[in-house]
Assembly symmetry: C2
Homo-oligomer: 422 residues x 2
C-alpha cells in the first residue's frame, strides 16, 4: 500500500493541525512536576485531594449496591440533565444553606469541572470578557480559555474579592457592554486564596451584577467544610439569577465525577444544548450512587469527620508556619476549605524555587499557575492541608521554611550590598 | 436590597448572553419528541439504546465490587488520561480486531461522545473543514458544531462512503489546505446508515489521508456487533496515524460513560490538554468497573448473547419491511449494529409524517437530523432494531407501513392528477 510508507511522516505532522485554543494552553507545570515527584520521601502540599480514606466502607458499599440493583436505569443511557432523583437529593441538601431550587432546573455534570467548561461554552465567544478573582482556580482558567475570552482578574483581601477594584474594572468595561458575560467567584475558602467573601461584599456583588448586567457564577465546592466562623449565605440564596455550582467531590467522592449547575430555567435549557454535544449525559451509575449516599447513609456524620480531620491539619499548618516561616512571609488565614495562600517578598520566584523544594523533600503549587497570564503571582504559592497528616504537614512546612530561608539569605545579602532593591 | 428588584428582569435576559455557537445549535427534534412520547402503547424505533437487561447481574455485581474494594483509588481524583489498568484492558480487547496500541497512548473519555468533543476542541478553529459521511451520527454533528467548523458530507452506498465523491471533494479543497483537519467515519454498521465500508475503500481512504494530509477519525462503537459476513480490519490496524475511538456503551454499559481514544503520542498529548479543561478526568469508579468487567467476567459470552438477540431483532425488522412496506420504499441491509436507513420517495417529508406515526403508535428518527444543514434527508428515516422485541418490531413496522401508505396514496393521487412531479 502506497499510504503505508508515509505513515511515519504524518505521525509527526498531525499535532501541527491543532486549533489555536490548544496552542495557547500551557501544560500545567504543577501536573508535570507531580508526575516526576514519585519519591516516597517527598511530602506534597501541591495537590487538592480530599482524604477519601475517611469515607465509611459501609456507606460506599450501600451506595454502590443501590446503583447495581437499579441496573435497567444505571447501565442505560441517561438524560442530558441527569437523573431526576439525584437532582432532587441535591436540591434537598442545598436547602440547609438557604438555597431553594427546583430539581427540573438542575443540570448534573461530570464533576464541577464540566460545569465550568459548559458555562464558558454556552456564554463565551472569543474576545468576550470574563471576570474572576486573581488568583483563581487553575481548572476554571483552563476550562474558560478553550473558548478564548479575555479573562480580567480582581484582587482579593481577607474579605474576598475587592469590590472597589471590581467597580473600577466595571467602569472601564462600561454599562451594557455586550462583551461582558460573567463573573466567576469561589466565595467560600477560595481556591487558591483560602479567603471568604464577606456577606456585605456578596450583597454588593449581586447589586453590581444587575447594574452592569453580568451573570454571577458562584462556585462552592468547599462551602460545607467550615472549621471556624459562621455560615455565610450563598448569593444564590438571595438572588435567583445567580448560577450556583456544587460538587460531591469534597463531601463524598471525587472519583465519581458528579457535580451540578443550578441556574434559571432559560439558562438551563441553553447549557443542556451545549452538554448534548459534550458527553450526552454523565455517568448514570455514579449519579445513582450519589443519590443513595446523600439520602440513605449518615453522610452528615461523615462530613463532621472530614471537618474535624481537615481542621486539625489546617491548625497544624498554620502553627508550623508561625513557628518556622521567616518574618518576610505572609499568608492567609482560611476558615475552611483546603488551601492557604502564601506570599513571599516580591523578589522571590516561587516557581524557580520549586526545584530546590523538591530536593528538600517538599512540593507546593507555584502561584503563577493561578493567573490567566501565567506572569503574576510568581512570588506566591498555594499550600494544601487536606491530604497529609498533621505530622507530615509540620515537617513539610519546616522543610519549606529552610528553602525559603535559603533564598531570603541570598537576597538579604544582595540587598545589604545594594545590588537589588527591597 | 436594591438589586433584588431587578432580579426578575435579569432572569429573562441571561439567555441573550449566549455564545454564537449555541444560537446555531438546534434542540434535537427527536429528543423533544421522545420526551413527549410517553404513551405506553407507542413502540419506539427512534432511539439507539442497547438492551442492558441482557447483562448478567453477577458480572455487574463483580465489576462494582472491584471498584468498591479499591476505594482509595476509585473515589479519588484520577489522572486526565484515565486509569492505566483500564487502558491496558482496552488495548487487550482491541488486539483481537487487529489493533496494537500502547496503554500510555490511550485517553479514556466520558463515553465516546466526549472523545468527539475533545477531537473537535483539539483540532478545529472556526471555518476549518471537517469531512463526514452524510448522513452521519447526530452526536458527532452536535459535538463538532460547538467549534464551528464547516462540515462537508460525502454520500455512502452499500459499501460505505463513496471514494469517488470523496476524491472530488478533496480536489475542490486542494492538497495541503491547512483548513482541512479530519475526516470522521463510522466504518462498521454506520449510524444512521447501517452500511459498512469495504476493505478496498478503507485502504483507499488511508491513501487519500496521506495524499491530502488529513487525519482519519475512525469511530467504532458497533464493530463487535456483527450478525453476518466477515470481520473487516479497522483502518487503525494498518495505519498508525488513524485516531481510533471505542466505547463500552454497546458491549457493556452505556450508563457508565466510558470510551477511549487511541491516537499517536503527539496527538494524545494535545487531547490531554483539552481534556484537563473539560472534566479533569472521567469517573475513576466507572473505569475500574470497566477494567474488571472485561478482565474478570465472561464478557465474550455476554457479547454473543447481545449478537444473537440483536440479530433476531434485525431479521424481524428486515422481514417485516419486506412484508409491509410499499414498493416505493428503499432500505439498507445492515450486517451488524443497531440501525436501518430507510429512503422514501423524494416527495415524502418524514419529519412532518412523524406526527401521524406517533398517532399510529410508532416513532422513528427523521433523516434530516443526521445532516449538518438539517435540510437534506427529509425523505429518509433511521430505524433502530436493538431495543424492542421481534414481535414489537414487526408490529411497529406494520404501523409505520400504514402511515407511509397513507402518504403515498395521497401523493399517488396528486401525481396521477399531474399536480406534482414524481
Amino acid at each position: 500500500m502506497s499510504g503505508m510508507k508515509s505513515a511515519h511522516i504524518k505521525f509527526e505532522t498531525a499535532p501541527d493541525k491543532v486549533a489555536k485554543r490548544i496552542t495557547k494552553m500551557r501544560p500545567s507545570a504543577v501536573r508535570l512536576l507531580f508526575a516526576a515527584a514519585t519519591r516516597p520521601d517527598i511530602i506534597s502540599l501541591a495537590g487538592g485531594m480530599p482524604d477519601v480514606s475517611l469515607l465509611p466502607k459501609s456507606a460506599v458499599r450501600k451506595a454502590a449496591r443501590a446503583a447495581v440493583d437499579d441496573q435497567a436505569v444505571t447501565l442505560q443511557y441517561g438524560g442530558t440533565n441527569g437523573l431526576f432523583e439525584t437532582a432532587q437529593v441535591f436540591c434537598d441538601i442545598v436547602r440547609d444553606i438557604g438555597i431553594r431550587h427546583k430539581p427540573e432546573n438542575v443540570i448534573i455534570t461530570t464533576g464541577a469541572q464540566e460545569a465550568l467548561d459548559l458555562i464558558a461554552k454556552t456564554f463565551c465567544d472569543p474576545g468576550d470578557i470574563v471576570l474572576t478573582e486573581g488568583p483563581t482556580y487553575l481548572g476554571a482558567l483552563q476550562a474558560f480559555s478553550a473558548y478564548e475570552p479575555e479573562i480580567r482578574t480582581i484582587e482579593f483581601d481577607d474579605e474576598g474579592m475587592r469590590m472597589d477594584l471590581l467597580e473600577e474594572e466595571l467602569q472601564r468595561i462600561g454599562k451594557g457592554n455586550p462583551r461582558l458575560k460573567f463573573l466567576y467567584t469561589i466565595p467560600n475558602f477560595q481556591n487558591p486564596g483560602g479567603v471568604t467573601m464577606s456577606p456585605e461584599r456578596r450583597k454588593r456583588l449581586v447589586e453590581l451584577s444587575h447594574e452592569y448586567d453580568f451573570i454571577i457564577v458562584e462556585d462552592d465546592p468547599y462551602g460545607r467544610l467550615r472549621y471556624e466562623g459562621g455560615h455565610c449565605l450563598p448569593m444564590r440564596a438571595f438572588d435567583d439569577s445567580v448560577i450556583y455550582l456544587g460538587t460531591i467531590s469534597k463531601m463524598f467522592a471525587a472519583g465519581l465525577r458528579v457535580g451540578w449547575i443550578m441556574a434559571p430555567p432559560g439558562v438551563t435549557a441553553k447549557i443542556n444544548l451545549a452538554k448534548q454535544g459534550t458527553d450526552l449525559s454523565g455517568s448514570v451509575f455514579d449519579q445513582k450512587m450519589a443519590a443513595a449516599y446523600f439520602r440513605d447513609t449518615p453522610w452528615q456524620n461523615t462530613l463532621q469527620k472530614f471537618v474535624k480531620t481537615y481542621d486539625k491539619r489546617r491548625r497544624a499548618m498554620l502553627a508550623a508556619m508561625e513557628e518556622f516561616f521567616p518574618p518576610e512571609v505572609k499568608w492567609t488565614h482560611p476558615e475552611g476549605g483546603f488551601f492557604v495562600w502564601v506570599t513571599l517578598p516580591s523578589y522571590v520566584d516561587a516557581k524557580s524555587m520549586l526545584a530546590e523544594a523538591l530536593d528538600n523533600g517538599v512540593i507546593y503549587a507555584p502561584g503563577d499557575s493561578f493567573y490567566p497570564d501565567g506572569k503574576r503571582g510568581r512570588n506566591s504559592m498555594r499550600l494544601n492541608f487536606s491530604y497529609e497528616s498533621p505530622e507530615n504537614i509540620r515537617e513539610a512546612i519546616r522543610r519549606l521554611a529552610e528553602v525559603i530561608e535559603g533564598r531570603l539569605e541570598l537576597y538579604r545579602a544582595f540587598i545589604n550590598a545594594g545590588a537589588i532593591k527591597e
